[in-house]
């Protein structure tokens, strides 16, 4: 058996109200990839943050190269050869690549940073590991995949022999993700050990040597790709058998409900975020919008729901034309919205479930009369939503902030669906919630479609798009690349479009 680079021994970590890690043990061997799999909130990030010295474990300890250590901070872990690429990149955007790589461990010449030496070392590293990069590029100008490469180089520069990657593929196109997996494989050839966190089963099976599955902070299984399958892993993750694919019938599209004509929208900084996008969504169909995050999806959803003004173009909902509109005007047209950020736009945390259940129509009958809320009616309504949408809560009078992510989302879905709606705009409807809730919400979205609602589904999870959509639109850099029928599309085709590559032109 080869050398054990990194280990956790019975590590526990408690946050206010949650036991994020409960007696977790694992071992990483030199030259191997350990996949850490688990649903959102399972405790994966917490665990690796402990391994990296960001958090101190409440119980248990970390073992680095056979030695029991008490890490005082990330610098301690770094000096022992642990490198980490965080879920959210830890790069200084306006600084250059070389500065970002050496930051905190700068080569010094006569009291000043020796940038020449730094550049030389970065170039040498990028040659040795086949990670091409321009050391003088400014980080904020680089695409996400390149920024990730900077993060990896940052760890290698510090002589890491363990590389921890927290959900590294979430921000990548499928092709970029595959490329990254290849890079990780090559790194292990040079003797590194890799801890690779994901909630994507396919990636685990593709790249891992060893698999550790976490659920509710506990290790619930250890296995290898040879011994398991996607279904087996999913079952371990969730604790019961799950359906990875929803059954759905063939769509029967009717009249056009939403029509966009050369819609252009600016982002918060006044840059064009959507450039002359045109498409339509019909009754009884789901149009999925695919794309790597940050390619205009947010602005699209905000424009359609009235949260953001249009800079040019036209939007038609039913027979009404909008060039600008308020959220209420648009909601009155029968548009329901499941927002991307449920904490910020979906719910008011300090309000009770009852109040939250009527946020979109408290001002109308039967919920208010002559300017006064009718508490009893609202309470009955909330109880109905909680029942029908399986929101797990002790009562309807508790504040919404006390719910778990999945239950918050079910409450929002319940609120939005309990009215007659013509158009549903669902943005990242299952982000960060448990598989049980995901199944439930997917089922409900399909039911809405079958009732004749037009559905616009925006998601960064390609599997979700592929699983639910009848047609698929792909956004790249604010442009609509193409709209495909679900039957003619597959992961590869959409992945290329997500990277801005069409058949005719092969570069972005």
């Amino acid at each position: 058996m080869s050398e054990i680079l990194l280990g956790a021994h019975d590590v526990s970590k408690r946050f206010p109200g949650v036991l994020a890690n409960n007696q977790v043990s694992l071992q990483l061997e030199r030259g191997r990839i350990l996949a850490l799999l688990g649903e959102n909130g399972a405790g994966k990030s917490t665990l690796v943050n402990i391994l990296f010295g960001m958090y101190r474990p409440d119980e248990g300890h970390v073992i680095i190269k056979g030695e029991r250590v008490d890490l005082r901070g990330p610098d301690d872990a770094i000096s022992r050869g642990i490198g980490m690429v965080h879920q959210h990149f830890q790069l200084v955007p306006p600084m250059r690549v070389v500065e970002n790589i050496v930051l905190g461990a700068e080569p010094v010449l006569r009291g000043l940073v020796d940038l020449g030496e730094a550049r030389r070392r970065v170039i040498e590293l990028s040659r040795r590991y086949g990670l091409e990069i321009d050391p003088d590029a400014v980080v904020e100008d680089l695409p996400v995949g390149m920024q990730q490469r900077v993060e990896i180089l940052k760890a290698l520069y510090r002589n890491a022999d363990v590389l921890i990657m927290d959900e590294p593929t979430g921000v990548l196109t499928p092709q970029e993700a595959d490329h990254l997996l290849g890079v990780l494989r090559e790194l292990t050839q040079t003797g590194l050990g890799v801890v690779f966190i994901t909630h994507k089963l396919r990636e685990v099976l593709a790249v891992a040597d060893d698999i550790v599955v976490l659920r509710n902070g506990e290790v619930v299984g250890q296995t290898t790709p040879g011994e398991t399958s996607e279904n087996g892993l999913a079952e371990m993750m969730v604790g019961r058998s799950v359906m990875l694919r929803v059954d759905k019938s063939v769509a029967e599209p009717g009249d056009v409900v939403l029509e966009l004509e050369k819609l252009s929208v600016e982002d918060d900084r006044g840059q064009i975020a959507l450039n002359e996008v045109s498409f339509e969504v019909r009754e009884g169909e789901i149009l999925g919008v695919a794309g790597v995050e940050g390619n205009g999806q947010r602005e699209l959803v905000e424009a359609i729901t009235g949260l953001r003004g249009l800079s040019s173009g036209l939007m038609k909902i039913g027979s009404d034309e909008f060039t600008s509109g308020s959220t209420r005007q648009i909601a009155e047209k029968g548009v329901a919205h499941i927002p991307e950020d449920r904490e910020k736009h979906g719910l008011i945390g300090v309000y009770s479930l009852e109040e939250n259940s009527v946020l979109n129509r408290y001002h109308r009958k039967p919920f208010s009369l002559r300017g006064f809320l009718r508490r009893d009616v609202i309470k009955r309504h909330a109880e109905g939503v909680v029942d029908e949408f399986d929101v797990r809560t002790p009562s309807t009078s508790v504040p919404a902030s006390s719910l778990s992510g999945g239950n918050k989302q079910k409450l929002i879905v319940g609120r939005e669906f309990s009215d007659d709606i013509d158009l549903l705009v669902a943005a990242q409807p299952t982000r960060g919630i448990d598989i049980g809730a995901i199944e439930f919400i997917h089922r409900r979205i399909l039911d809405q479609r079958d009732k004749g609602t037009a559905v616009l589904l925006v998601s960064a999870e390609l599997d979700e798009i592929l699983g639910l959509s009848d047609r698929i639109a792909v956004l790249y850099d604010g442009e609509l690349m193409d709209v495909l029928d679900a039957e003619d599309s597959n992961r590869e085709k959409i992945g290329l479009l997500m990277a801005g590559i069409t058949d005719s032109k092969s570069s972005a």
Partner: protein, 330 residues
């Protein structure tokens, strides 16, 4: 800086020199007086701007520079008059600046008080304390810092008087501009400082102690404002009077922004603002315009408002991303 910007800069400089030369030919003494006044007014602004930029580059807004000027001027003046030593007075001014910088750091970084409120506390405290302890009968027995001629350089017409025949703290400030520039952009300290102002989380993950560095920087920066206070009392004016900083701590922030949070940029901006001050003084002296002097005195501030508004329109530079935010680990 891009190539065309550089060309524009050089072209601008040449035009400026030509204009100065024409004015000098037309009226030597007046031109010399205005330019010397420009440098004099710019020194204080440059010190304040450097204080501000070290804080802001590390993510901490300092609107307490005005108060730091004032209380340091008071300390410098009081100690100098008691000990009859300008040097000890200067040290006292710097010391008071450091102390106030440390207080700002303790509030804004340590206790995570809102940075604007923390700065305002300094301003109010300085005004109150100096007014309360102000002693009209005290004076600077030794007189203020006098000009030091830099050998033959001082004999060059115009330039000699304006640049090479100045009192010591002015020279010191010019040297500090270079020191701060090199430190900010070439040293390890500077690189880390810029990193914690842009993305403290990233700095943290590579083992940089964000809060400690901010604490240190805000304190050290206070020393620069303290030197400004000493300059004001012991070199520019030669006495202390109530509220004598007269808004220049705030003006220094405008100078800092206009100078893109770089020392040389700030000095250029400080010279520009200093020029409006010097011009205004000259107007008042000569009674150039037949309007009440208070209105002429507003000139530098009107120009400030215009320039800041304009530079906002041009959108010259964005703030450090973490400016004004407290940092929580994890």
């Amino acid at each position: 800086m891009k190539l065309h910007q550089k060309r524009l800069l050089y072209a601008g400089l040449i035009v400026l020199l030509v204009v100065i030369w024409i004015f000098y030919a037309a009226n030597g003494p007046q031109t010399t007086a205005v330019l010397a006044g420009t440098v004099r007014a710019a020194t204080l602004l440059a010190l304040g701007a450097m204080c501000g930029m070290i804080g802001e580059r590390s993510g901490v807004v300092n609107i307490g520079i005005e108060g730091q000027f004032l209380l340091s001027a008071f300390a410098a003046f009081t100690v100098a008059s008691m000990t009859s030593s300008l040097f000890l007075g200067t040290i006292a001014g710097i010391g008071m600046g450091l102390l106030m910088g440390w207080m700002l750091a303790a509030m804004a970084v340590g206790l995570k008080v809102d940075q604007i409120i923390a700065g305002t506390v300094l301003n109010i405290a300085a005004l109150g304390l100096t007014s309360f302890f102000y002693d009209r009968s005290r004076s600077l027995g030794v007189g203020k810092y006098t000009n030091i001629d830099l050998g033959p350089l001082a004999d060059i017409p115009l330039v000699g008087t304006v640049l090479f025949s100045r009192p010591p703290l002015t020279y010191l400030t010019m040297a500090l501009l270079i020191v701060v520039h090199v430190a900010l952009f070439r040293s390890v300290w500077g690189m880390r400082t810029r990193a914690i102002g842009e993305h403290p989380g990233a700095a943290d993950t590579v083992g940089i102690d964000v809060l400690r560095l901010r604490y240190f920087n805000v304190t050290i920066a206070g020393g620069l404002a303290g030197l400004g206070g000493a300059y004001l009392a012991l070199e520019a004016v030669g006495t202390f009077s109530r509220a004598m900083s007269g808004g220049r701590g705030f003006l220094a922030l405008a100078v800092m922004i206009f100078g893109r949070r770089t020392p040389f940029g700030a000095y250029a901006a400080a010279l520009f603002f200093g020029f409006t001050t010097a011009l205004q003084n000259q107007f008042q002296l000569n009674n150039t315009f037949d309007i009440p002097p208070q209105f002429v005195g507003m000139l530098p501030f009107i120009v400030t408002i215009l320039v800041v508004a304009l530079s906002g329109l041009i959108g010259s530079m964005r703030d450090p991303a973490a400016l004004g935010q407290t940092y929580e680990k994890g």
